[in-house]
Amino acid sequence: MARELTPPAIAADYARARRRGRLESLALVAPLLVFIIVTFAAPIAAMLTRSFYTPEFADIMPRTEEALSAWQPGALPSDAVVEAVSADLIAANEAKTIGRAASRFNFEFPGGRTLLTQTARALGGEPARTLADLVALDPRWGAPATWAAMALVAKRVTGIHYLAALDLRLDDAYAIVPEREQNQIYITLFLRTLWVAGLVTFLCLALGYPVAFVLAHLPIKMSNLLMILVLLPFWTSLLVRTTSWIVLLQSQGVINDLLVGTGFIANDQRLAMIYNATGTITAMTHILLPFMVLPLYSVMRTIPSSYARAARSMGASPMTTFLRVYAPLTLPGVGAGGLLVFILALGYYITPALVGGQSGQLISNIIAFHMQSSLNWGLAAALGAILLGGVLGLYLVYARVFGVERMRFA
């Protein structure tokens, strides 16, 4: 090789090698990165935009969007607005898109579906000229609240879904007020989700800590063997484990039969242990426990036994040794396991849906409901965005403190 070995030449070679190394490593990562962005991250981001961008109504009723764009709440429409709205209704009725616009309106204005569809049909082919024409078809057109609600729905970019997700709404004067009492469910659900996730995390810690401790203080051959008892549930299908709990806990189930058979309770006093919050919490704790044991175990394995011996030799009681020396050293495992269990519990859907009954439903269940049954996608997206925001925030903490590589699953 007739290359110069002057410092600048070496530096240039080095820079070139580094550039090539970067490109090579990027080329290796790129296929998966593109795959995840296209099939996973971008679809989620696109779905979340529905939480503030709802063009369905405006697309179907463009003249209405235009006419109501600077609406003053409390006002009644001019003849020009009436004509725009009724022309849109007629056009949408002919294009058979009225149903979608009416459903959208119905979410913000109870009864709005029939108001729009019936008015559209009653108008026939002739747009209304004055407000009185519309009121003659349905008296609700004479109320300022109807128009205020329609002006809100006609907006493409809107914050109403986030308000609804937080049990708030805009009143007829567009002031933010609490949702009507019978509709206040989301804050309760968020709080219940936090409470269940917190309780499950605590139970996993309380149950997992002694297991990890014993496994970490046994000879390695023995602990590998016992670890199978932790790992087998982990590898067993979520639905199998949920089935188990139904079999065990239902009112004609194994545990109730046992209690009745041994005379602890009478046949008509069978315990309601499932299809409520208790069922959700029991099954979730069982399913998430291995996620707590594994990080605890790997941290405890690395704590030298000489630390505890040193503390004991200097006169500390076993309790003090544990509390002042051993337990603080296990905190990284407690943090990693606890955060992971909490994050996973926040998004639980299958288990609450199967064993949760009414009182055991979590926020994911209501998101699925609005997605699949009520079809209020804007609200589902807003609830999802709040949940995902919380989860990603905690994930960021996890990544910063423990590093994502530490996210071990067996």
Binding site: R22, E24, S25, L28, V29, P31, L32, L33, F35, I36, I37, T39, F40, A41, P43, I44, A45, A46, M47, L207, P210, V211, V214, L215, H217, L218, I228, V230, W235, S237, L239, V240, T243, S244, W245, V247, Q250, V254, H286, P290, I343, L344, G347, Y348, I350, S364, I367, A368, M371, G384, L387, L388, V391, A399, V404, E405, M407, R408, F409, A410
Partner: protein, 277 residues
């Protein structure tokens, strides 16, 4: 102090917790042989009367076209998703293991995110995306969705084996004239194989066990085993589910044993390297 597992009362608590982990799963196994259509132990079963036991629920699975279709779907979707996830995940891990990679933390965070994003949110996003592409109710759509969920496991396990990988080995092979493909298949892959295989098993079980995506983006043609169980638990509950669950438990034992064997092999390789072997 000999390693004896700590004070006796801690060992008793730990034993009870391990029983809490295992018993609910084990209780299903005998109940799946129930001769009666009940979800609880009959007097005949408790007195170990052979007439109390039967294989009728197992026969049920294999005579029911819905279950047979579900088993077939689960394997087709699971294996396809595993192939995609393992290929993409292994390549990405090879790149992530190199120190030159720019924005490593960000990329890693994004690649691992399918593990922690609530499934309902992921499934909702994919539902809209796939319906625009006409992929809802298709096997391809589910394969892609499950592959995305499985890749983080492959990345993490392969990356773990690569952390013990001697980077001078591929360089030595290259300097002896091997082209990059030969270096990978003859040098790198044999060393990281345990990680790749465990990642693949994780990816497979993730797909095999997944039901939320199936509920949101799968159609009637894509009913998998978990989807069938979901329907059974919500609608017409039949002890056939217990027989299926028992078979799934057997499958998880097989997978667990395979993973443990791979882990031992990987540990052996690492030990050999430490000894200069």
């Amino acid at each position: 102090m000999t390693p004896n597992g700590g004070p006796i009362w801690v060992r008793i608590i730990a034993g009870a917790v391990l029983a809490f982990l295992m018993l609910p799963i084990l209780v299903i196994v005998p109940l799946s042989f129930n001769a009666e259509p009940y979800f609880t132990f009959t007097p005949a079963m408790l007195s170990l009367d052979p007439d109390g036991y039967s294989l009728r629920w197992y026969r049920d699975i294999f005579q029911n076209p819905q279950w047979l279709q579900a088993i077939q779907n689960s394997f087709i979707i699971g294996i396809s998703a595993t192939v995609i996830a393992t290929g993409l995940g292994t390549l990405a891990a090879l790149g992530l293991a190199r120190s030159e990679l720019p924005a490593r933390g960000l990329i890693m965070g994004l690649l691992i995110s399918p593990l922690i994003v609530p499934l309902v949110i992921a499934a909702t996003g994919m539902f809209f995306f796939y319906s625009n592409l006409g992929l809802t109710g298709t096997t391809l759509g589910l394969v892609l969705a499950h592959a995305a969920l499985g890749t983080p496991f492959v990345v993490v396990t392969v990356l773990a084996t690569l952390s013990g990988f001697d980077r001078s080995l591929p360089r030595a092979a290259a300097s002896l004239g091997a082209d990059p493909l030969t270096v990978f298949t003859r040098v790198t892959l044999p060393v990281i194989f345990p990680g790749v295989a465990s990642g693949a098993l994780f990816a497979f079980i993730t797909s095999f066990d997944e039901v939320v995506m199936v509920l949101f983006i799968g159609g009637p043609e894509q009913r998998t085993i978990p989807r069938q169980m979901w329907a059974g638990l919500r609608e017409q509950i039949s002890p056939t589910i217990l027989a299926v669950a028992t078979l799934l438990i057997v499958l998880s034992v097989i997978l667990l044993v395979s993973i443990e064997a791979l882990r031992r092999r990987s540990a052996k390789l690492a030990a050999a390297k430490l000894n200069g072997g």
